[in-house]
């Protein structure tokens, strides 16, 4: 069961139409290191976690990633909703526009659709947690590149928040990995 809260985890403000920036930011919606991939990866890995700390961490971070997906969607939606056809063309978004108008769709910056091949669920909790830590670092790098590309201070502010969350998640997954390793050395009840 999931609940929806009618608020963003962090406020989003955009200066005005900027489809060029939207084209870059959308990769965190449906790209290889984006929030959809993050959320689905963690939520599907949790079923085979052997310890309760692992189950809880994957459930809660997987849930927070859905909130991050919504923040990214809010950024992209507001950057393109008032854009003119001319601006869409200048940004090189004609292909996206032809398929989706101004709707949100899971693609990377070049329009490549999301695929489950971006994520892994290996059944080996040590392997999965290493994947999760790598995923957090890859997302952190992506947010840093997006911050370099951003020419909208409100968008930059939200991207900085999202970048910081990747750092915290990396830390929590590292702690979870240590606990799983301890569990294998000294098995205990959950």
């Amino acid at each position: 069961m999931w609940l929806y809260e009618k608020k963003l985890e962090y406020p989003v403000s955009v200066q005005g139409p900027n489809p060029k920036l939207a084209k870059a930011v959308i990769t965190q919606y449906g790209g290889p290191d984006g929030e959809l991939a993050a959320s689905l990866r963690y939520l599907t890995q949790r079923y085979t976690m052997p310890i309760k700390e692992g189950i809880g961490t994957l459930t809660d971070i997987g849930t927070e990633e859905l909130a991050h997906m919504e923040i990214v969607a809010a950024i992209v939606y507001n950057l393109i909703k008032d854009a003119s056809i001319e601006e869409i063309k200048e940004a090189g978004l004609e292909g996206y526009y032809a398929d989706h108008d101004k709707a949100l769709y899971f693609v990377n910056g070049d329009g490549v659709p999301w695929t489950a091949a971006y994520i892994q669920s290996k059944g080996d909790p040590i392997t999965d947690l290493h994947e999760d830590m790598a995923a957090e670092q890859k997302a952190r790098s992506t947010y840093e590149y997006l911050i370099q590309l951003s020419d909208d201070p409100g968008v930059t502010d939200a991207l900085r928040f999202l970048r910081e969350r990747e750092v915290v998640h990396f830390q929590r997954f590292g702690e979870t990995l240590m606990k799983v390793q301890e569990y294998y050395e000294h098995p205990r009840y959950m």
């Binding site: 929806y4 962090y10 809660d60 927070e64 929590r172």
Partner: protein, 97 residues
């Protein structure tokens, strides 16, 4: 088609308070997931959780449910559908540090 709705300044203020409180709770929740025996973090989590609950109820009574599926009541009328939805708000840059 423009869904933008002006949000009452008081609603925005309360929403920002809720965001701050819940962010604290998200952080404490994740920390407790890997430090379940940390008594100080647990005390802080419970204290902020009670504070969050009060503001959430107050917000719900004034502006409609914050959470769906019965976690907040909708007094008098079905306010869950009231605009704006979160992505329809262009946040003021004020109150950012």
């Amino acid at each position: 088609m423009d869904h933008d709705r002006e949000m009452h300044p008081q609603q925005w203020e309360m929403l920002m308070d809720l965001m701050e409180l819940e962010f604290t709770l998200v952080e404490l929740n994740l920390f407790l997931d890997t430090h379940p025996e940390d008594a100080e973090a647990l005390r802080m989590f419970n204290r902020v959780s009670r504070e969050f609950d009060v503001v959430k109820r107050e917000y719900g009574q004034m502006f409609g449910p914050l959470v769906n599926f019965g976690h907040c009541t909708s007094e008098g009328e079905w306010k869950w559908l009231d605009m704006p939805w979160p992505w329809q708000i262009n946040a003021p840059m004020a109150r950012r540090d």
